[in-house]
Symmetry: C2
Subunit: 342 residues, 2 copies
Amino acid sequence: MVKFVDVNNMARWIQRDGVENIITGMVGYLERDYKRWELFHKIPRVASHTPFGVIELMPTSDGEEYSFKYVNGHPSNPARGFQTVTAFGLLADVDNGYPTFESEMTLLTALRTAATSAMVAKHLARKDSKTMAMIGAGSQSEFQALGFRGVLGIEDIAIYDIDDEAVEKFRRNLEPLGFNIVVCKSVDEAVLGADIITTCTADKAQNQILADKHVAPGVHLNAVGGDCPGKTELEASILDKSKVFVEFPEQTRIEGEIQQMADDFPVVEFWKVLTGEETGRDSDDQITLFDDVGFAINDFSALRYLRDAVAGSDLETDIDIVANPDDPKDLFSLVANVPSLI
Amino acid sequence: MVKFVDVNNMARWIQRDGVENIITGMVGYLERDYKRWELFHKIPRVASHTPFGVIELMPTSDGEEYSFKYVNGHPSNPARGFQTVTAFGLLADVDNGYPTFESEMTLLTALRTAATSAMVAKHLARKDSKTMAMIGAGSQSEFQALGFRGVLGIEDIAIYDIDDEAVEKFRRNLEPLGFNIVVCKSVDEAVLGADIITTCTADKAQNQILADKHVAPGVHLNAVGGDCPGKTELEASILDKSKVFVEFPEQTRIEGEIQQMADDFPVVEFWKVLTGEETGRDSDDQITLFDDVGFAINDFSALRYLRDAVAGSDLETDIDIVANPDDPKDLFSLVANVPSLI
């Protein structure tokens, strides 16, 4: 039997352990996996594009365990009552190829994306960072805020979105949790004096959510929403004046903000900051920019963290997706000789 | 909710409808999809190789529905009590990216592989074909035999495998169903006078399960087991004297028997035989060879056939893998405000 966490049990787990605790714990798993980055089998995710969205498969393996995630991205979904992003995925045993663990990953992706952002900011943002501007108040926004509070202690957030109702939802969800939320009427207002800027919007277009003028010296820029060919958020000149960090360059050059730049535009692979092969922030005035697109190893870490956290509890159930004949060469026995299954 | 067919319900379905009926029906779905081949989004499957096996993802889409299959191939598994191949997969709605149907696919892959073989043989084998030689008595073998009986009326089978117990299992499973089974002591004995030869072995090596001398004029050769880089079954000169048909050349040149040949070795895409753009068998003396590796569209057809066959019955259940907040931008509501889920 494969262990399984469905949406209801995922929600129960998050309520049991708490978003901030989970993200903080997940950062530990992420850092361990990023430090052994070279071990992993890595390819850009496999995308099936249509004019209105994308469906992607994100596989990776450390040679002992294999993971993949199915994830869609449909920016026009919310207007029709659907979410922009849904996901599910699994872990498998590389030795025999059998799946071992399956889970919903819409909520888990929200957690792991926030955990990845927080992990990177922990190493790249100025140590005295106290405020974050957030551009985009969609499904990912609360998880980003809680991740930055859990890992960096950020409690002061200036929020802007073109959708007033989404901003109000963000404020309503987070103020009761102790955040100081400033609702802003423009990007200019939101970024004023911010130590960290997070962009996380969903439009599949070459946008300039953030212009050059919005990014002051010393800022850490957590650019989450540019994650698809033809989908960017930043004015290109921001990239020129920043030190740019990425997950897996072969994927980020296709999908990230740097798709706007030349193929040899210099980037730092973030895992090398963790191993000490590269420096992170070099000065208080430097602009550090995480061009986040979301990589398969992030999901590998998140799935393993979840699996370990729920092991043996009633948050996991069994799912019967691997046929298991007594004689492995006699698959036919399952349909020929099973006594009165019907 | 996503509709779900687990292993037990898959077995119940196969017992309810019967292997031969299912394969015959599935051939109809396959033929319809192969005739609209050009509509599909097609890529070679995405493989993660280790020395002892492979895990693969096989996505495709016709622009309205998306499917993918997770499948492993571990030739050393049976000796350890595991199956060589296990699989599961799903269908999704391209319009919003949401999964709609998930299923076990170990049994379904056995059915669809046999259905694909039978579909191709129906169009390429000599119309007077009466006997089949089978090399390999593993998990796929009974499904191949039933597929060829259901679609081509083949009842006389000569079987050979290096594993005597597997051969005995094959005989034990199929003789009660009315087949005439001749157990052979060698490949030479098995192929003698055969109209159709099916090779389906699992070793991940460049083997010569079948030598040039084994393939007489007029035979249809259904080569199923060569389906991975470094895994072939046929002496290369057999390819030179045959008219070779493939599913998706970009994948078959990597994985199929033709990996032994030059990059421009001539092949016919089988779908073009169905649309009339290419001829199939040109004479009774010609050797036709289906270099089968298994392509994603086969799984697309199989999943849709299954989905349609079990719709509304107790063979499908609901599986909760897509989070569904009332406000699509308020994913956080699922973990913040659900009253006492714990």
